[in-house]
């Protein structure tokens, strides 16, 4: 591992890059603690309780201390060891007691020195909120989608959609549909259904305005002298459409704002909760406030935005502007953990208030003495249901399900959280850097959402996405990609209001005309609307657009075009957007160019080309020399590597349990944790710059194996590889699997029957491995079916020993006892088992270039080829056929480079695209070749090898050098399936399936066909009959039935006789008779599959008789019933 120990300060810096990767998770939760919670509580509508027959009204039952209690009941940072407690908090967030701890303190607390936090500990599991892609907030997006037509008659496939997000991060999506008649409908979801309002009503209800004003505002972007040309977004049709919109309102005989409000109020009072008693106008105001453009407070702003959206909608309809691409990253943002929790908590609190209100009202109507002013009484009712709020948050983190009636405007309801697996470090990092497109897209047939779009350049890694089902949906952020947050780079909270004001001031200074309060009379060709976070703040002459940029400001300047995207200047400062660093051309006030090259014509420049790759993809050496799918495979395999999953492994058992199985049968809740641990990992000789940047040496995951590329024995065909047995003996690729069983006997205790750990003092057969407390001794080796702990039932007093399952022996690594609920008996314990997994035939290995292989032989060292001058025998032999079709040139380069590096004693930098940054005159081989030659080796990395068996020189030169190989977690010991005899199915008597139960592998129809084609009938009979459900049935050849055989009781005299003589009783041969024919004359025995008999009985149940005709059928001369 890391050799040089640097001072603690520089060590902190060393991990800074790593911690930066986890920032989005921690920052958003920090904000939730800092301000989000307050803002959310403020935005909850006060609940008013009035009891009929009672004069008092209770307003705002939300207790003032709620913030305090919320923090302390649900988000209290308990020490992580208390796995049975249910605290929900984000590790290393501001609530965490380890926040800001240096690595020494972290180690002291039993954490990794590199601990990055960002996840939640819930019920002993580490879970993180999955970053989901959402539509960009506060941006009106024009879309064409076939499903819009289904909204009703007259609807078209065109709409402008805006996802409005309030301060408390809850959002309401507004859709503006275009109708065939030229009008538009404004739609939003309320209480589980979509409400569609004529846009005119909303326009009129928002502000006091006249028809003329609406007309001029709508048509302001059109002028008669415009022709179809650059920047013209509107056509003359807009006048007619404005007329239609106004006519619609007039037809409803709504003229003034008040009339519109009354109309809306009447419509919505029944669905708006808590407004049953209010007048229509209040209801309508509430609808406008809570559902229409919630990101804006001012009705004038809302009016302006609606006008703008209409203009955009019409431009898209008239094809003077193109629809926006919903799949492009520029129209997307992400869902962050803090935001999700805020939104969900708000919903749950509202639900809680609703429930409490109902309870109080019920109580007050029943109980006359109930005083609403008695805060103690009210509080009692409040606390009745308050526990559910915390439980809901907990279960959301635990299960990932968002249980809410409204759906919270989220794209999906489940799969919001995932388990942070620490199988190895690559996997662990990847969890936190992954971005999912949404589970609904997984089912879609179209592949357009999965495409890699140029907009994702530098934000999402083009390499690191799984192949197969989630391909293109589950992406990973590049190593440099950040997410904008509420905090600036100094860690202070951003004041968005202030930023906005200064921005407006700057824009005004730059020539922006502020619009106060109405949208001005001109549109795109001459001036551009300026939107700041979805609010139109003014317009600026399109000729002079210059920006002054605060930190993390996103400037969306859509220039004038013909038939292109709808023009405007869109500024965004809000959180949850993708950001990434780049060099940028900024005109400095002093006229300088910031020291950049004048000759370079672009406005932006990449810092380094590797910025387009994710962390894991960045770790592939010279990935620019590989065929691209191989790099993808490597990203997959890096995450399956058996490596150092954690240095604090010793302390991590109890927390890290993850559910694989629940054993309910035994009244036991058993949880399993599987961790794979690699005994002798090394640091790679050839590594990229990212490797040291992200301190991968803390968690190494492979071995520099000496690899020879030759086909030597035939055992390396088809991606098989030969391992040197002596190398394996010496510890290469050795590993262990740690498996923790969390046994909670209290969880399943019923009534007064409790179970606890106890050693039986009665039975002698309990093995020595169980100690007096009923738990195993640490270090003990347990063999399959051996008892390793025992449980006592206090009702029956019996002691039940538990046996080790599986076919592998295990060592007891660690036993932890949980005493939090320790009354008098021990009920909770964690037992960590350790299993040795040394490489055996069938285990899977891979290099870092998507070249996986299965170990086919552990070849004796003496039989391996050897080099005459060094005496070196390879650790591993792979077949040269692995290269031509896969074109993993980087693997060959790695071999040469690692050879040169190990001779020189230096690590070799293998950062991809290095040649495009540095002026490199030579190719990599030309750099490494002379280095090899200077040490007396072949320029091209080949060596003359001698056969280990014959001692003679091999005809051709062999490519030999160290390559970093990873051992993958797929091991035969977990997968092999073999059986001779064993359990059978009760009904069919055929062997059962399933590896766990000792079942067989299905010999199915296609296999049967193959045997038939081969004419291997004996084998077929053996497989499908003799080894399966061979059965000898008694068939009555007279009636042909195989179900009617009954046993004739043999005379008991014989038995008695034997008894008298004192001889052992012998079962008399059974005699059968046909029950239908009442005779045993026709009884024959026939061998058949048992299922056939079963089929006969099933048919009999349906009143169908199955008749067998035996070839040696005996016929009764008298009564023949041939026909049937």
């Amino acid at each position: 591992m890391a050799a040089g120990k640097s001072s603690s300060a520089s060590k902190e810096d060393q991990y800074a890059a790593l911690r930066e990767l986890y920032r989005p998770h921690i920052d958003s939760f920090d904000y939730f603690i800092d301000e989000g919670l307050d803002k959310m509580l403020q935005s909850i509508r006060p609940v008013e309780i009035t009891v009929p027959n009672s004069p008092t009204t209770l307003r705002n039952i939300l207790p003032a201390s709620i913030r305090f209690s919320l923090l302390f009941f649900f988000f209290l940072p308990f020490a992580r060891r208390l796995q049975f407690s249910g605290a929900v908090f984000c590790v290393l967030s501001k609530l965490c007691h380890l926040r800001g701890a240096d690595s020494e303190k972290l180690i002291f607390h039993g954490e990794e020195a590199t601990e990055m936090g960002g996840y939640f500990i819930c019920g002993g599991m580490e879970r993180l909120v999955r970053i989901l892609i959402l539509q960009k907030r506060n941006y009106p997006m024009g879309l064409i989608r076939g499903s819009f037509v289904n909204r009703g008659a007259g609807y078209t496939d065109k709409a402008v959609i805006i996802r409005c997000v309030q301060d408390d991060q809850s959002s309401v999506t507004i859709k503006l549909y275009y109708l065939l008649n030229g009008s538009a409908r404004l739609g939003f979801w309320l209480g589980g259904r979509e409400f569609l309002l004529p846009v005119g009503i909303v326009l009129k209800a928002l502000i006091d305005t006249s028809d003329r004003e609406i007309f001029t505002s709508l048509t302001c972007c059109y002028s008669d002298h415009y022709e179809r040309g650059k920047g013209v977004v509107s056509t003359q049709l807009i006048g007619e459409r404005a007329q239609i919109i106004l006519d619609e309102v007039r037809d409803l005989s709504l003229f003034t704002r008040t009339e519109c409000l009354l109309h809306l109020g009447k419509y919505f009072r029944s669905v708006m909760e808590g407004f049953e008693k209010d007048d229509f106008e209040t209801v309508a105001e509430a609808v406008l406030k809570d559902y229409i453009f919630v990101h804006l407070q001012n009705n004038h702003d809302k009016f302006n935005l609606l006008i703008f959206m209409l203009q955009k909608l019409y431009a898209i309809v008239d094809q003077t502007a193109s629809p926006d691409k919903a799949d492009a990253l520029q129209y997307q943002e992400v869902l962050l953990p803090g935001h999700l929790i805020t939104v969900f908590l708000k919903d749950r609190l509202q639900d809680w208030l609703r429930k409490s209100k109902r309870l109080i009202v019920e109580e007050a109507t029943k109980n006359k003495s109930f005083d609403l002013n008695d805060s103690q009484e009210v509080r009692k009712f409040l606390s009745k249901t308050s526990a559910y709020v915390g439980k809901a948050i907990q279960s959301m983190i635990k299960v990932g399900k968002v249980n809410s009636q409204s759906g919270l405007d989220l794209p999906q309801r489940d799969g919001m959280t995932i388990h942070a697996e620490r199988l190895n470090f690559h996997r662990y990092i990847s969890h936190f850097r992954s971005v999912h497109r949404g589970s609904s897209f997984a089912k879609m047939r179209t592949t357009s959402v999965r495409k890699l779009l140029p907009e994702s350049w530098g934000f999402l890694c083009p390499v690191h996405t799984p192949d197969g089902e989630p391909c293109g949906l589950l992406n990973h952020m590049t190593s440099t990609c950040r997410i904008s947050s509420f905090y600036n780079s100094e860690g202070a909270t951003k004041d968005f209001q202030k930023i906005k004001m200064s921005l407006i001031a700057r824009l005004v200074g730059a020539g922006m005309a502020q619009l106060l309060p109405r949208i001005e009379r001109t549109g795109p060709p001459e001036v551009l609307h300026v939107h700041v976070d979805g609010c139109i703040v003014g317009s600026i002459a399109s000729a002079k657009i210059e920006e002054v940029i605060p930190e993390d400001l996103e400037v969306g300047y859509v220039p004038l075009s013909h038939g292109g995207a709808y023009p405007g200047l869109y500024l965004f400062t809000n959180p949850a957007r993708f950001l990434r660093p780049a060099f940028m051309e900024i005109r400095c006030p002093d006229g300088g160019d910031g020291g950049r090259n004048k000759l370079f014509p672009a406005t932006h420049e990449e810092i380094h080309p590797t910025a387009i790759l994710s962390v894991v993809a960045n770790l592939t050496p010279w990935s620019d020399h590989n065929q691209s799918p191989r790099n993808m495979y490597q990203c997959q395999m890096a995450k399956q590597t058996m490596g150092f999953c954690g240095q604090a492994l010793k302390f991590r058992t109890d927390v890290k349990a993850f559910h694989l199985q629940m054993y309910v049968i035994l009244l036991l809740a058993v949880r399993w944790l599987i961790k794979i641990f690699f005994q002798t990992p090394q640091t790679p000789i050839v590594r990229t710059a990212t490797y040291s940047k992200y301190c991968m040496d803390e968690f190494p995951s492979g071995t520099n194996a000496i690899v020879a590329v030759l086909s030597y024995t035939g055992y390396d065909m088809e991606d098989a590889m030969i391992l040197n047995k002596s190398s394996v003996d010496r510890g290469m690729f050795r590993g262990h699997i740690f498996q923790t069983e969390c046994i909670d006997l209290s969880a399943k205790s019923r009534d007064n029957v409790t179970e606890f750990f106890c050693k039986s003092n009665l039975s002698r057969d309990t093995t020595a491995s169980i100690e007096s407390d009923g738990l195993p001794r640490i270090g003990e080796n347990i063999f399959p079916n051996e008892q390793y702990y025992s449980v006592c039932n206090n009702l029956t007093g019996t002691v039940r020993p538990i046996k080790l399952k599986g076919s592998e022996p295990a060592a007891i690594d660690y036993v932890a006892v949980n005493g939090t609920n320790f009354k008098d008996r021990l009920q909770k314990a964690n037992i960590r088992l350790r299993r040795v997994r040394n490489p055996i035939i069938g285990d899977k290995f891979s290099s870092r270039h998507g070249q996986k292989g299965v170990c086919s032989q552990l070849w004796p060292d003496i039989d391996m080829p050897f080099s005459a001058n060094t005496g070196m025998r390879p650790d591993l032999i792979i077949n040269p056929h692995a290269f031509p079709s896969r074109m993993t040139i980087a693997m060959l380069l790695e071999s040469i480079a690692a050879k040169a590096g190990s001779l020189k004693g230096k690590f070799i930098d293998a950062t991809p695209f290095a040649s495009s940054v540095k002026e490199r005159s030579k190719s990599i081989v030309d750099e490494l070749g002379p280095m090899l030659a200077s040490y007396g080796f072949n320029y091209h990395g080949t060596e003359v090898l001698y056969s280990g068996v014959f001692g003679t020189e091999m005809k051709c030169e062999i490519f030999l050098g160290p390559v970093y190989y990873q051992r993958l977690r797929h091991m035969v010991s977990d997968k092999f399936q073999v059986r001779t005899t064993g359990r059978i199915d009760q009904i069919t008597r055929q062997p059962i399936g399933g590896r766990k139960y000792g079942g067989g592998i299905r010999f199915g129809e296609m296999e049967r066909d193959a045997l038939l084609a081969h004419g291997a009938s004996y084998l077929l009979h053996d497989r499908l009959h003799s080894c399966s459900d061979y059965h000898i049935a008694d068939v009555c050849s007279i009636c042909g039935s195989l179900l009617t055989a009954t046993v004739i009781k043999s005379e008991s005299q014989k038995k008695a006789k034997r008894d008298m003589l004192g001889l052992p009783t012998v079962k008399p041969p059974k005699n059968f008779a046909c029950q239908a024919c009442k005779t045993s004359k026709g009884m024959e025995t026939v061998a058949m599959p048992y299922v056939f008999r079963y089929l006969a009985s099933e048919l009999a149940a349906m009143n169908i008789k199955l008749e067998l005709r035996l070839s040696n059928r005996t016929e009764l001369p008298t009564t023949t019933s041939e026909e049937s």
Partner: protein
């Protein structure tokens, strides 16, 4: 042994010349024999010369960071001084202890007890901490595990005789390799046609220093024939220069140069001598096979362990 057909004897009398002999390193020439003989010697040295290595570990206390299996594996790989290994018995053949490996004829017992009490420094447990019942056995300080304050390691280990074929820990050889002695012929006539620059290029074409230019006569001379790795670089260069036959290199089929390095369990001299003994025993076993004799210990070698 029966004579080959025709009564001709193919018996050869190999010669050995030792060039260099150190405790853990030897270089010698083996002449007048063929590859099968040389390779057999190499294979026996690596895989069949017996040594003693820890084979059974009973761990009493282990609170170190490494788990029991890990420590046991590390202990096994420690080379123990095995000069007497040839005279010892394989524990499975041992009559004195019924093969359970706990008698002086077939095993050596070690004890290790270490506990870190020093507050600041980690305690390095090395192979020197292994205390043996047989005081003759000792070994160099090889790190086993590091202990933090309060951690303890206490164990009993039994070393047994074994061969490298069974497990690499019993292999006394770190490296055993041989090369065919090269025979380099320079066609001086053709060489005269070369300019000095060409000669220099020719000399540098070999990554190892095989040739040199005599500073006085400016002739290409063979400086170190054995540095040649049969990589054909010089031959390729000669062909590229359009002068085939300028240099010819052939491997002598009957001369081998051996390089032997040991792990330290036994000396290089012992390794070579024991290898010859083992090889002879194996040949004897083959000879005796017809007689259906009881092979005893040799049989173990024959059947591979």
């Amino acid at each position: 042994m029966e004579r080959a057909a025709g009564g001709v004897s193919y018996q050869r009398f190999p010669r050995v010349r030792i060039r260099e002999l150190k405790d853990d390193y030897a270089k010698f020439e083996l002449r007048d024999t063929d590859a099968s003989m040389a390779n057999a010697l190499r294979r026996v040295m690596i895989a069949e010369v017996p040594t003693v290595a820890i084979d059974l570990v009973e761990i009493e206390v282990n609170s170190s960071v490494l788990n029991d299996e890990f420590i046991a594996h590390r202990l096994g790989l420690i080379p123990l001084t095995s000069a007497a290994a040839m005279a010892m018995r394989f524990s499975r053949d041992c009559d004195a202890c019924d093969g359970d490996g706990s008698c002086e004829y077939c095993s050596v017992e070690f004890h290790l007890a270490a506990r870190a009490t020093d507050s600041d420094q980690t305690l390095e447990v090395t192979s020197n901490d292994l205390r043996s019942t047989d005081p003759k056995k000792s070994c160099k300080g090889i790190l086993i595990v590091k202990l933090r304050r309060g951690q303890e390691l206490r164990l009993r280990a039994i070393a047994r005789k074994g061969i490298g074929k069974d497990h690499a820990k019993w292999s006394p050889a770190a490296t055993v390799t041989f090369m065919y002695e090269p025979e380099i012929r320079i066609n001086e006539e053709l060489m005269e046609t070369l300019t000095l620059e060409e000669k220099r290029n020719l000399v540098e074409s070999s990554p190892t220093k095989v040739f040199n230019i005599d500073p006085n006569t400016q002739q290409v001379v063979v400086e170190d024939a054995e540095a040649y790795t049969y990589d054909d670089e010089v031959i390729k260069k000669v062909d590229a220069m359009g002068k085939p036959g300028l240099i010819e290199i052939n491997a002598k089929e009957d001369s081998f140069i051996f390089t032997v390095e040991t792990t330290g369990a036994i000396t290089a001299y012992e390794l070579i001598m024991n290898a010859i003994t083992v090889l002879r025993q194996k040949l004897d076993a083959v000879r005796l096979q017809d007689d259906d004799a009881d092979l005893g210990e040799l049989g173990a070698h024959l059947v591979g362990g």
